[in-house]
Subunit: 338 residues, 2 copies
């Protein structure tokens, strides 16, 4: 592929906690010809997500840390432009772990799936029809186990996962209460994503009282993307046999010094409640089921989404830090080849 | 029943946390004749248990607090000596909420069950064949979901619940590690209750390191009777998809000022683990199933138990505090009519 130049964002230094622009370097490389069994993907959208903080951390995590000098690990979606694998042909749309770069030369092991819902925007394969949507779907349905009439509380409710959780809960017949930071995001919860109520945790003086007022029958399902003080305010209001889905800990900036908080045991005991961690990769064999349902809901207008699209790979290095600054208003993506 | 004098232990003052001897008063009362539908039970054994701290607390709990001046709520076992209910006859052995007193005049609503395993000591109906054994049985099997080969860690492992948990886990094919306070209790775990390993948390300098050494493959099930620093040391060693059974919080002396501890969310997330509260009363409809299995294991010599029997109702007022001082070496009971 000698005529192509591959712009790449590589990890230049290992951050102590949230990766900032200065931890990355922009570089150019050649695109090698694909070997037997490989394909070449031209990326059209790169994903930016909170989990990237963990991927560049030296602390043991789900996967090995991204090495210094390596292309930043990232989900991306694009088009196959060359193939030496019989299952893929030029023109196929694919999504997978293709990295923060223009072109990825990979084996099918890096491909999460072919994107077949070509009537919908390709960018959705990284958001509501990607891991965010699938996380919301399995986290809520398999771990949260919502029942019609339940009250479902969601933290980071205007986010890519939280907004889908709220809407899937509504489809399941639940009452939904979103917690988000700032008046704009709280308004977005109700206006764009159909939450029955929303709480701006930055403005609520007594967050616990606000949750109690919004959930007079208690919280049956708490979909927790944050940990921290939002969770601490929700847990005393669990209903009997509540389910807490531990999906993320976005409010905790570092686990190097392990943070403390109010003990949870008594809440779980008195309410016979459960807290359970969710990792979406455990459901990989069932992604197709989730994506088919999510895509149908999008087409029916029952599942809205918001995107926060930055243009050009130059925007990537600062994009994770921006998430943690709370500046995005939807699933953050980088668009290439605009 | 005018010829009988009923000695009673009544709640005299409401304790701030652990009830001490001075919070109770010993009094005498007449035994009324049973009304239509009532029975008179002569108690032979009174139960003493950690949960009594909650029963006398003014803080909302599973049930209304014991009122000042009322007979202390307690499980007890005894014999029916008079009956005006067709389902009960003099000579029947029964166990139920009969209070800390010589005689109870009650309706069948207070009776947990008739004790039919009359080949075994009646005292067992308050321990290994009572709520302790049933708690261990349902907590481990229904919430802990042990699988053969799992490593099961139990706190207060020499106690009435913990010792049964360890033995039921062994019967299920698990490896068992008991955590107890003091060399004598740790030795009792292995010698009397067949734990594969035991840790004296008072002597272990680095409790986490001791747990890691005893559980090289991680902790699949943690049966938690304590909360507090024992739990804080166990949680970092959970295995993938571990189950934490929250059965009690014995290490926490008061929840009036809510205690803090290391946050649990990240453990649950990274290990896809769950923590779930257990209240045995939720399984009331299935007690018969549990007791039949537990009694069979006792008869087969596969389920050992330890009792700590105090003589005379005068021992009752100080008996709860004694539990929290850690002085008992088995299920604590008060024997009447010795």
């Amino acid at each position: 592929m000698q005529n192509l130049v591959n712009r790449q964002v590589r990890l230049g230094a290992r951050p102590a906690d949230i990766p900032q622009a200065e931890h990355f370097v922009l570089a150019e490389a050649a695109v090698p010809d694909p070997g037997e069994g490989e394909i070449v993907v031209r990326n059209q959208f790169l994903s930016v997500e909170p989990a990237m903080r963990g991927w560049v951390s030296a602390v043991a995590n789900y996967s090995a840390p991204v090495g210094l000098g390596e292309v930043m690990r990232a989900f991306a979606s694009g088009e196959v432009i060359a193939s030496r694998h019989r299952d893929f042909a030029p023109g196929d749309k694919v999504t997978g772990l293709f990295g923060w770069q223009d072109y990825a030369v990979v084996t099918p092991a890096a491909v999460t799936r072919k994107v077949t819902e070509t009537d919908l925007p390709l960018s959705l394969s990284l958001g509501v029809l990607g891991l965010n949507g699938v996380t919301a779907y399995f986290g809520l349905t398999e771990v949260g186990e919502p029942r019609a009439g339940d009250t479902v509380v969601v933290s980071t409710a205007a986010g890519a996962v939280g907004s889908a959780v709220g809407q899937i809960a509504k489809i399941a017949g639940c009452r939904t209460v979103g917690i988000a930071g700032g008046a704009a995001k709280a308004a977005q919860c109700c206006d764009a994503f159909g939450f029955d109520a929303a709480i701006d945790y930055k403005a609520a003086g007594d967050l616990g009282a606000a949750i109690a007022a919004a959930c007079p029958g208690g919280v049956d399902v708490y979909f927790d993307n944050t940990a921290g003080r939002v969770s601490d305010a929700v847990l005393p209001h669990l209903a009997m046999r509540a389910r807490v889905v531990i999906c993320g800990t976005a409010s905790v900036s570092s686990w190097e010094t392990w943070p403390t908080g109010p003990r949870v045991e008594r809440h779980l005991l008195v309410k016979r409640a459960r807290m359970q961690g969710l990792l979406v990769f455990d459901y990989q064999a069932r992604y197709g089921e989730a994506i088919a349902r999510l895509a149908a809901w999008v087409r029916e207008g029952r599942l809205a989404y918001a995107e926060d699209i930055l243009d050009g790979i130059e925007a990537a290095p600062d994009a994770i830090a921006g998430l943690y600054r709370g500046e995005n208003r939807g699933k953050r993506l980088i668009r290439l080849h605009a």
